[in-house]
């Protein structure tokens, strides 16, 4: 084999801490290396052109590029060698930037390490062989998990592009967090008025099949050919018969059920339709509080239902859907402020969360849009907003900024003034973060036009005194202690991943970051993709996001799914396992360990049982290789002899050095 080695300076990123010329020179001593050079930017057009030229001039069979991480540019250089007529898999990369120059300070050690990494890559490349890919058919259907604004947007975009969509929502209605909001910043337009039409569109679109009150049981398969098993939870109401008239909710005697949609502001009935604009507008029975389901008597709803939709014997069922791509849009949950003992630990009735306040402000909410103190139902005249409750607080395990609280505090203070003109709002803040279009002006308006008083500092304690709440904190701009006598305190609770996010990540085989949000493939260049091909992210499940960003990401994820499924067939990665039938003894250990059921038992020419890999299903993990007692099943480009060659390439030099 004739190998060429190309060492990249990456400007000064590598060259400042690695002697690139020396690396190239050393590489010339490696077996089969016939050409080596260094260049300022290998990924640039002239850099790639020099690789192409060298391949032709020096009749190279394979190329080692020593530059950045293969996770960054492997695809780039595969294309480069392909343009020069080589097989695209005849490239190996030595990561001398992320793993060398960016982490080591000593140029000599770095250079030695870089030489070793090139040595490994060349040793592996010598045992690489050209691979050709096969193609497989795709299912032109998308699964969207989560029916919030991001999921709805993604579903609509996919459906408009001609793809079939299954939209799965955990709750009985789509709309998500946005449906709970009264108004939206910075326009102060009605949230439901903006969202409602989109919800209706999603429900009525001929290509979208809406599965409300359902959850993902598991997902198997691979890009283009996923199989999702979806659990339809028992709602005890036949959705095909329910008209959403609401008679049942009027007659239900169990009126002390926790009101999930209204965040516990007021209570609701055991059979319940969350809000008037719910889509689908169907009643659902809460089995924990329903008298018929808990005690076996009542059944008032069944008696009054004009269509006979109530079915107390309903059981959950599993529905299977085959899809080509998955968009996760599971949104966010809110921080439990009872962890802040100093703010009453959740025990002071007049210390409420921002989302509870939002429900209070909403005309369709439990208070009919009248702001009332939970303790005595009186209208508060002094309202204090506390920002960053469960955000930017490493002590509470929440080091990150929740992104949109600053803005909704400003909005809620404006709305407070609208609702109660003789009220005064105070905001305790760390910083005011208002970087998007029209946001800065909006927070200014809250202060200048609506007289909201912003106090820069954290609140140290909230305690009741004489029917009021004393909010004690620091004003760091004046350098003094401040105390506000408040009627109502609203905590801007931070954003956290939904409780089921971790489990869903496992089912979709995607990762979560240190805070539990789904992890994107690349923070800048692949923000809606995941490391699992065919699985995309939209909205706050990837990190705290406001409505415009969630909608944009919903569209972005849809765009990715559309471009993926626009093709009739996809190329399968040929770096898969193969069984050498001559060595296979038919023990079928590999069949049992394969997580993708990609190895099956067949009969060989000699009539004996043999294992065989189904190439389109193999994902290239290599678990099978390790269990095979005969070394018969080998993963292309990660074969035993290749990995051993890498180990040996290092060890041989080390042993040689120690002999000097």
């Amino acid at each position: 084999m004739r190998i060429g080695v190309f060492v990249c300076h990456c400007g000064s990123n590598i060259a400042a801490r690695v002697n690139c010329a020396e690396v190239a020179k050393a590489a010339l001593n490696f077996p089969d290396v016939v050409f080596a050079t260094d260049e300022v930017y290998m990924c640039s057009e002239p850099g790639q052109e020099s690789i192409r030229k060298a391949i032709v001039e020096h009749r190279l069979d394979g190329v080692v590029v020593a530059s950045c991480s293969p996770r960054m540019h492997e695809v780039t250089f595969r294309r480069t060698v392909e343009r020069a007529g080589l097989n695209r898999y005849m490239v190996e990369m030595a990561n001398i930037r992320e793993h060398v120059s960016w982490i080591g300070h000593d140029k000599d050690s770095n250079t030695r390490k870089a030489i070793d990494l090139v040595r490994i890559a060349a040793a592996k490349l010598r045992r690489d062989k050209p691979l050709t890919f096969k193609t497989f058919e795709v299912v032109k259907k998308v699964l969207v998990v989560g029916g919030g604004v991001a999921g709805i947007q993604a579903a609509l975009d996919c459906a408009d592009a001609g793809l079939d969509v299954v939209l799965v929502e955990r709750k009985s209605t789509i709309g998500g967090r946005m449906a709970q909001l009264d108004k939206t910043f910075p326009t102060v337009d009605c949230s439901t008025c903006v969202l409602g039409p989109k919800m209706v569109d999603a429900a009525q679109h001929t290509r979208i099949s809406l599965m409300a009150y359902s959850e993902i049981e598991d997902v198997s398969g691979y890009v283009g050919n996923f199989t999702a098993r979806i659990k339809r939870k028992a709602s005890y109401v036949d959705f095909s018969k329910c008209t959403g008239c609401g008679l049942c909710t009027e007659k239900c005697p169990s009126k002390k059920t926790f009101d999930d949609f209204n965040e516990g502001v007021g209570t609701t009935t055991a059979i319940n339709i969350p809000f008037p604009q719910a889509i689908p507008k169907k009643a659902v029975i809460n089995p924990a509080t329903c008298l018929k389901l808990t005690k076996g008597k009542c059944g008032a709803c069944a008696k009054v239902c004009p269509t006979g939709a109530i079915n107390f014997d309903m059981r959950e069922e599993i529905v299977e859907e085959r899809v080509g791509a998955v968009i996760a849009a599971t949104g966010y949950d809110l921080f439990d402020h009872s962890k802040y003992e100093e703010y009453g630990g959740g025990k002071l009735p007049d210390v409420i969360t921002s989302i509870q306040y939002e429900r209070m402000l909403s005309a369709s909410g439990p208070t009919g849009g009248h702001v009332k103190r939970p303790s005595d139902g009186k209208e508060p005249k002094t309202v204090v907003f506390v920002s960053c409750v469960g955000s930017r607080d490493p002590a509470k395990g929440r080091p990150y900024c929740s992104n949109f609280c600053c803005m909704y505090i400003a909005k809620q203070s404006i709305l407070t003034k609208d609702h109660i003109p003789d009220s005064q709002s105070y905001v305790f803040y760390i910083d005011i973060r208002a970087p998007q279009k029209g946001y800065e002006e909006f927070t200014r308006r809250a202060q200048e036009e609506y007289g909201t008083r912003y106090i820069r500092g954290r609140v140290s304690k909230i305690y009741p005194e004489g029917g009021k709440l004393i909010v004690r904190g620091a004003d760091t701009l004046l350098g003094t202690q401040v105390e506000v006598q408040a009627d109502l305190v609203v905590l801007a609770v931070g954003v956290e991943p939904t409780p089921g996010a971790g489990k869903l990540a496992e089912k979709l085989r995607i990762s979560t970051d240190q805070n539990g949000f789904f992890m994107e493939s690349h923070p800048k260049l692949r923000p809606v993709e995941t490391n699992t091909a065919g699985v995309f992210l939209a909205g706050a499940c990837q990190g705290p996001k406001d409505i415009p960003a969630s909608v944009a990401q919903g569209s972005a994820a849809a765009g990715k799914a559309i471009s993926l499924l626009a093709r009739e067939r996809l190329e399968a990665d040929p770096q898969v396992s193969h069984v050498n039938p001559k060595r296979c003894v038919g023990c079928m250990k590999c069949v049992r360990v394969c997580p993708f059921k990609a190895i099956k038992e067949t009969t060989g020419r000699d009539g004996l049982p043999k294992a065989e890999v189904i190439e389109a299903m193999c994902q290239g993990c290599g678990i099978c290789s390790v269990v095979c007692p005969q070394g018969a099943v080998q993963l292309e480009h990660f074969k035993d002899d290749q990995i051993l060659a890498e180990v040996e390439a290092l060890c041989r030099t080390w042993v040689a050095k120690s002999c000097e």
Binding site: I103, R112, N531, R652
Partner: protein, 166 residues
């Protein structure tokens, strides 16, 4: 010279492509400085790591071997790291029987977002290997044998690389 001080030692890391290799990349992007002794070999999954690779490295001249993959429940291939955990745990117990200090081998989990954690893992492991010192120095004669062995096994005539870079 390594950041740990003294002579650089010989450490091989087997990292899964999806989590720990990404974590090592993240550490680089974040400029989390680390000792330079470690050489990383990229694997598709820790489930691909044959314990014999680790053993091969340790008997062939490595002073330490580090394996790192996705956290349990976070494997890109669902369960590769579980297979790895079982195999490597057994390996860890076998090493002393072969006369190799078990601390020369370590396996752990680092996700692609945990750059700072990767820095810690590398720094601690490198320090630990430096405390143990180089593997019982190879008898020069044995070493020559070993070289011949390695060269012979590959069936190639190439000389041990002539101390490149030094």
């Amino acid at each position: 010279m390594s950041d740990v001080g003294g002579k650089e030692l010989r450490i091989i890391g087997f990292l899964c492509n999806w989590c720990s290799y990404g974590g090592a990349d993240a550490a680089g992007v974040g400029r989390f400085s680390q000792p330079t002794d470690l050489r990383i070999i990229r694997m598709p999954c820790t489930g691909r790591v044959d314990p014999l690779f680790v053993l091969k490295a340790l008997v062939s001249g490595a002073d330490g071997v580090l394996v790192s993959g996705c956290h349990p429940r976070d494997c890109h291939y669902s369960e590769g790291n579980y297979y790895a955990r079982r195999r490597l745990e057994v390996l860890k117990r076998l090493l002393p029987m072969l006369g190799i200090h078990e601390d020369r081998f370590h396996y752990t989990w680092v996700s692609a977002s945990e750059g700072a954690r990767w820095q810690q893992v590398v720094t601690r492991f490198t320090e630990r290997i430096h405390e143990l010192g180089p593997m019982d120095s190879l008898d020069p004669e044995l070493a020559v044998c070993a070289i011949r062995e390695l060269g012979g096994e590959n069936g190639q005539a190439d000389q041990p690389a002539p101390a490149s870079g030094e």
